[in-house]
């Protein structure tokens, strides 16, 4: 699997399934097995949802979601980045707070960073073959 993905979309709820479909195309082309593909799609959806819900909540206009994906054939790395307000607590959160825990549960490795230049960068890594000890 040498395909890569590089998407920049407006941070809107309508674009969450658009990102998922783009990633699904990548997974289908690589014949990634269903369980792994399902976990990747769930994680990407949660990461994008976090951007839409939180990243630009103080901005006068919605910003963008930047998604990149790359693979060496064995592991898939997906990064979801925004240029919003960065990591900060939110007492009025509209969700259950399950987004990052779900990503952590379904990925083999996850990192959340303050991105260079502002915003948040979530990097998720997946083994492309399902392992017996996957959560």
């Amino acid at each position: 699997m040498s395909d890569e993905l590089d998407l920049v979309l407006a941070s809107s709820a309508e674009n969450v399934p658009v990102v998922r479909q783009a990633v699904r195309g990548l997974l289908d082309a690589a014949s990634v097995e269903d369980q792994v593909a399902g976990d990747v799609l769930l994680a990407v959806t949660e990461a994008c949802t976090n951007v839409v819900r939180h990243a630009y909540r103080d901005a006068s206009a919605p910003g963008e979601i930047e998604i990149t994906a790359s693979s060496d054939g064995h592991r898939l790395v997906i990064a979801v980045r925004d240029r919003g307000c960065g990591l900060s607590p939110r007492i009025d959160s509209p969700g259950l707070g399950l987004g990052l825990p779900v990503i952590a549960a379904v990925s083999d490795r996850m990192e959340v960073h303050e991105a260079d230049g502002g915003g948040t960068l979530v990097t998720m890594e997946f083994a492309l073959a399902a392992s017996a000890d996957r959560a």
């Binding site: 969450v16 399934p17 399902g38 769930l42 949660e46 399950l98 379904v106």
Partner: protein, 110 residues
Amino acid sequence: MVVALAGEHDLSSAEALRRSLDEAAGSPGMVVDLEMAEFVDSSILGVLVQAFRDACANGRGFVLVMGDQTPAPVRRVVGLTRLDQVLPTLPDRQTALAAALTPAAAVDDE
């Protein structure tokens, strides 16, 4: 009243689902059927949890339908988040409809 989800649901359809559940809230018991749902994320689970809270607060029944026929991605996220341990969940719609006539109660209150 049965609200059945079909296809994929995420933040883009969460508000529409919330409205559907609000409209169905007048009935004594609500059943949300996930058998035909192919994908749901945590934003949808949040809508379901809120509907369950509303049902508890108003003395109405609320039951989720999820069984072996429910697509794996849906069972996966429900299992990961243990939603089926928080919301009353039954494997078929008929049983759920009967159970939904009993007012919902939070697990901690039972």
